[in-house]
């Protein structure tokens, strides 16, 4: 096949296009972030996960230490079973606590992990038993109303 001076420019164009695709895949969609770090999987059960979604971060003191792998409903215990992929670099005691938190008022929900006191660390396949469900606004309001109603008349008359 004969060569031409266009070859290098066509090559450059194709290279640029492929680079743009790689940029989109890596920088905007973060294709390789999960495979790079070795992880271990732990599971947890929540009474209510609220608006938690797969791939949401797991944070300890605000630092991302893992991601949510899958969420499914367990019809034996009637709870949500959440599988977490934790970064191998970070170890947590077996009695750590999970909370479903919200970033900001309207932000995404994520799982906060608080370290416990036990000497043994979590390993692959462990289950975290101490969990705190997402705050559901309706429950919060009804609780507030009930407590208001319980001590309502005394407070009302003192005003």
């Amino acid at each position: 096949m004969e060569r031409s001076k266009n070859d290098v420019w066509v090559g450059l164009f194709v290279l640029l296009g492929v680079l743009a695709l790689v940029f989109l895949a890596l920088k905007s969609a973060n294709l390789l972030s999960f495979q790079w770090a070795t992880t271990y999987q732990v599971s947890a059960r929540f009474d209510n996960i609220g608006g938690l979604k797969p791939k949401a971060p797991v944070k300890a003191s605000g630092v991302v230490v893992g991601h949510i792998d899958t969420i499914r409903f367990d019809d034996k215990s009637y709870q949500a079973q959440v599988m977490l992929r934790m970064d191998q670099r970070y170890a947590f005691p077996k009695d750590s606590t999970l909370k479903i938190l919200t970033s900001g008022l309207l932000g995404e929900q994520y799982i906060g992990i608080e370290a416990g006191a036990e000497a043994v660390n979590l390993v692959e396949g462990d289950t975290i038993s101490q969990t705190q469900s997402a705050v559901v606004l309706e429950n919060l309001i009804s609780q507030f109303l009930y407590s208001k109603a319980a001590d309502g008349p005394a407070n009302g008359s003192s005003k």
Binding site: M1, E2, S4, N6, D7, W9, V10, L12, F13, V14, L16, G17, V18, L19, A20, L21, F23, L24, A25, K27, S28, A29, N30, L31, S33, K55, A56, P57, G104, L105, L106, G107, E108
Partner: protein, 265 residues
């Protein structure tokens, strides 16, 4: 000869014109199949295709890069204006990336490509036809569809997704420039929100698939219009105009259908 007094709504006239339209559609479909089947000739002579990629891809780079950057600028400005009302301006990166990768990148790049490269394809083929170069090739037993049309078709189909990807990447960089550098959105939040919200296959992959389909549509329309153009100056100019109008409308209509297929839940 038909009588000149007959109204266009006369059944015979309607039948005649619909038969003509059907024949046009059949001719187009046949040409499309022949283009889609490039045969071994193109594999043996990839030079023909790379020359077309050079002509359509490299020369479209400037307009794609510049407009991509400016679309990113505008997206960041407008997106920030809306998002900061709800106190979630850190989602700006997600907004810019998703709208570019899913919609604006493929669609605007395709519209620009139709204007920049589609017209030149039509004009080139039309003028070749007007100059009887295509007939001359046929006289020499060279198939003009295979020698002239197919390399242009495949060059455009290859160049289009690359251009769309460059458009999206430049747009995201433009959005970063305005959002993070100028307005002062937190850089970490900008990228991390984008990375947690954009999926490689569902968003980037479908965007690429869209741009491949747009490339097929644009180059086919451009080549068909050039190939069936009246071999006169008016005919070629009409065909060029028609290419832009038809290709743009097809891209927008296809985009709606593809979006409905890909992203509806």
């Amino acid at each position: 000869m038909k009588s000149p007094a007959r109204s266009p709504w006369h059944p015979a006239e309607i039948g005649f014109s619909s038969r003509l339209a059907l024949a046009d559609w059949g001719y187009g479909a046949r040409l499309f199949l022949r283009l889609m089947w490039p045969g071994y000739a193109l594999l043996r002579r990839p030079r023909l295709v790379t020359d077309q990629i050079h002509y359509m891809g490299n020369y479209s780079l400037a307009i794609i890069v510049v407009s991509g950057t400016f679309v990113g600028f505008v997206l960041a400005l407008q997106g920030y204006y809306t998002l900061q009302r709800y106190g979630s301006s850190e989602a700006l990166g997600l907004l810019v990336a998703l709208s570019l990768v899913r919609e604006l990148g493929p669609v605007i790049a395709a519209l620009l490509f139709a204007g920049r490269a589609g017209t030149s394809l039509t004009a080139e083929i039309g003028l070749m036809k007007a100059g009887e170069q295509l007939s001359a090739m046929e006289m020499m037993a060279v198939d003009p569809v295979r020698r002239i049309l197919a390399p242009r078709f495949w060059g455009a189909v290859i160049a289009m997704p690359l251009l769309a990807a460059i458009f999206s990447a430049m747009g995201i960089l433009g959005g970063w420039l305005v959002g993070v550098v100028m307005i002062g959105v937190d850089a970490g939040a900008f990228w991390s929100q984008m990375q947690s919200g954009v999926d490689v296959w569902a968003d980037v992959g479908n965007g690429v698939l869209k741009s491949v389909i747009f490339g097929l549509a644009i180059s086919f329309i451009a080549l068909l219009q050039g190939f069936v153009a009246q071999p006169t100056p008016e005919g070629v100019s009409l065909a060029t105009t028609r290419t832009v109008v038809l290709a743009s409308l097809t891209v927008l209509a296809l985009d709606f259908v593809l979006t409905a297929l890909m992203f509806s839940i």
